[in-house]
């Protein structure tokens, strides 16, 4: 955001590889963005673009196969990656929380949901059992779960998908974090439930002045709930801009490509414009500087020159393209 507000979270030049049996996969390269306190940003892109890996890298829950080659993640100007594992464990859940994609698999199926919220509280702010219970109930009320006294002893399978996701949100918010990452929180839920859950996330984020990262593949959803949008493609941040600016004046060909394939924006099925091709094979050692080059309608020889970085293209607007729209 503006330079006057110190960022809550600052990610700089994050580069992550995964070592697999089939070779090294270059999953993220030089990913950078900032998040101000109380701001909601959306990270959008196709599956495989590195959205979730970015979130997991911030939280420090990457798979063992991942290697962070370079980069800097700062939370309130503290170097998160320099923290000891123990300090990071205490930071995670207390100051920064994550809501996972599938609420049913994120919860333990054989423990009552109230106990699972209590775990988070007991871990970070130990208290007498009666007080923990009171705080579990308070956390459940905060996410508007009806009849929390009864529901806290329920198992995940006894609750609907929407209620399970509210439990996930309650557990994430139980210790009043200042950073909330929501990784596709409503995928798999109905549109009516999605609206309720997203309203809830926005309301608690605004009320608690939480910096929030919403990861989604749904541009329309991001446009309704976010202040700013970070567009990712094949492990690169290709464009960053405030919501109204991004949709009014998209500069990167990939962003316009995504907008052209959104069903709600067109009148007929013939007006849909699919992006040709698919993501490049990220195992290649000779990945071009612009990973969109092979799919890009504006591709020119100059795109092959090394050193492509996001450049200012307007107020708060960054675009990583040599020939932007």
């Amino acid at each position: 955001m503006t330079s006057t507000t110190p960022p809550l979270l600052s990610v700089r030049d994050l580069t992550v590889d995964f070592r697999t049996r089939h070779g090294t996969v270059h999953v993220l390269e030089n990913v950078s963005f900032d998040l101000a306190p109380g701001e909601i940003i959306g990270i959008v892109g196709e599956s495989g673009s590195g959205k979730s890996v970015t979130a997991f890298a911030i939280m420090g829950i990457l798979d063992k196969a991942a290697r962070i080659l370079s980069g800097d993640i700062r939370f309130e100007n503290r170097d998160v990656m320099a923290m000891s594992p123990r300090a990071r464990d205490l930071w995670r859940g207390k100051e920064a929380s994550i809501i996972f994609q599938n609420p049913r698999t994120a919860l333990n199926p054989i423990r009552p949901v109230g106990d699972q919220i209590a775990d988070v509280i007991a871990r970070h702010t130990p208290a007498a059992p009666a007080e923990v219970k009171a705080r579990v109930l308070q956390a459940m009320r905060q996410v508007r779960i009806p009849d929390p006294e009864k529901r806290m002893s329920a198992y995940p399978f006894e609750l609907s998908g929407g209620l399970c996701q509210r439990i996930g949100i309650a557990a994430a918010l139980a210790c009043e974090p200042r950073l909330l990452i929501a990784d596709e929180p409503t995928t798999g839920l109905d549109v009516t439930t999605q609206a309720v859950i997203m309203d809830l996330i926005r309301d608690v984020a605004r009320a608690g002045n939480l910096g929030t990262v919403l990861i989604t593949h749904d541009l329309a959803l991001a446009s309704e709930y976010c202040d700013r949008i970070v567009v990712m493609h094949a492990g690169h941040v290709v464009e960053t801009a405030p919501v109204a600016e991004l949709f009014a004046r998209p500069r990167h060909p990939y962003t316009t490509g995504l907008l052209g394939s959104v069903p709600s924006l067109v009148e007929s099925v013939h007006d849909l414009r699919a992006i040709p091709g698919s993501l490049p094979d990220l195992r290649r050692s000779d990945l071009p500087p612009c990973r969109f080059a092979d799919r890009c309608p504006r591709h020119q020889p100059g795109c092959e020159a090394p050193g492509l970085r996001p450049e200012p293209a307007g107020p708060n607007h960054l675009v990583a393209c040599r020939y932007p729209l």
Binding site: G161, D218, Y225, A274, I275
Partner: protein
């Protein structure tokens, strides 16, 4: 339409018995009403959209229409022929089986990982059409692959070697290979990225127009249904609550549930943004529903005392659409969408 429908169902019901009645204790049977009294018809070359929340019975209805499960009661006609008496097992052996084909939701889980793409597409053909020789199988499989723009070199591969969009097209090709007249598609694009979804939607539209195949498109995404279908049927708790032509239904929904469903869809178009209508409260249970109140009662923003006493009938409005609501005649509130929504401008930092 003067043509007779390919598929027509009348008063179709599917009740799953959860607990049988007990003569000793006098207990009534406990039944889940998955599909309750649904009538609809699909004409040749038509695209019909079926929408509703999960649990509203749309998947059960699509399985009933494909004759994968047997209905509790009601009538089914294929080309005017009453097939209600034919069991699902008998139907799968009848020549009518190839007329109605289904495309399943998750292309990864609905393809056998041990079959090559060729065998996956050839399998329904061998089962249903009794091809004379290998050359015929080869020719028909390649024709089906071409009709869905699947490169022929992929035929020798296995599902795990294909992308999500390619697997979705294999699912459509194996339905198309037996030359059906009706394709039932259960959320065919919900697992795909928007860009891939766009190509699959265009492919389905092409198949419909070039080959005259009727589509029944089951989805919870009204925006997708709007692009593909000329008619939409909205379901809630096993019942049809509204059905009609796409444009009027989309622009002036008559049923409160349709209005809530439309308003919940996030949209990028500022002018199309609707005032959010929230459905508060929990839905009623589909188990032994009361026959004397509206099934939306308790969540409906427009409910009145009458709705708790009398269950509304499905009735036809002057413009031809069908609505199950006592108060649907009242003109729909004008779509007062603000030109610029406050939500789209960044809120000031608190």
């Amino acid at each position: 339409m003067s043509q007779s429908p390919i598929l027509c169902v009348e008063n179709l019901k599917k009740h799953f018995v959860l607990k049988h009645s007990n003569a000793l204790t006098g207990r009534e049977p406990v039944k889940l009403h998955a599909v309750d009294d649904v009538s609809l018809s699909i004409h040749p070359g038509e695209a019909l959209g079926l929408v509703g929340e999960s649990g509203c019975g749309k998947s059960t209805l699509s399985r009933l229409l494909c004759r994968l499960v047997d209905a509790t009661s009601g009538k089914l006609f294929v080309d005017g022929r009453d097939i209600s008496a034919m069991s699902a097992a008998a139907f799968s052996k009848s020549p009518l089986r190839s007329d109605i084909q289904m495309v399943f939701q998750d292309p990864t889980e609905s393809l056998n990982p041990r079959f090559s793409i060729f065998d996956l597409i050839a399998d329904p053909l061998r089962q249903l059409k009794r091809p004379k020789n290998r050359a015929e199988v080869q020719a028909r499989v390649e024709a089906a692959a071409r009709s869905v723009n699947l490169p022929l070199e992929l035929l020798s591969r296995f599902p795990h070697q294909l992308s999500g969009g390619q697997k979705a097209r294999v699912g459509i090709a194996r339905a198309m290979v037996v030359e059906p007249r009706l394709l039932v598609l259960d959320e065919p694009t919900s697992a795909l990225d928007v860009s891939v979804q766009a190509t699959v939607l265009q492919l389905l539209d092409k198949i419909r127009h070039e080959q005259g195949v009727a589509l029944l498109f089951v989805s919870h995404d009204l925006n997708v249904v709007r692009l593909l279908c000329s008619r939409i049927v909205v379901m809630y708790l096993g019942q049809v609550v509204e059905s009609g032509a796409t444009d009027p239904l989309f622009h002036h929904p008559a049923h409160p549930y349709t209005r809530a469903l439309l308003s919940a869809i996030p949209t990028l178009r500022e002018g199309a943004r609707r005032e959010r209508i929230k459905l508060d409260g929990d839905p009623q249970s589909p188990i032994n529903p009361s026959g004397t109140r509206c099934r939306l009662y308790g969540r409906c923003p427009a409910q009145q005392a009458l709705c708790n006493r009398v269950e509304p009938e499905l009735r036809t409005l002057p413009d031809g659409r069908q609505v199950r609501c006592h108060f649907a005649d009242a003109p729909a509130p004008p779509e007062t969408a603000p030109a610029i929504d406050p939500e789209i401008t960044p809120a000031p930092l608190l």
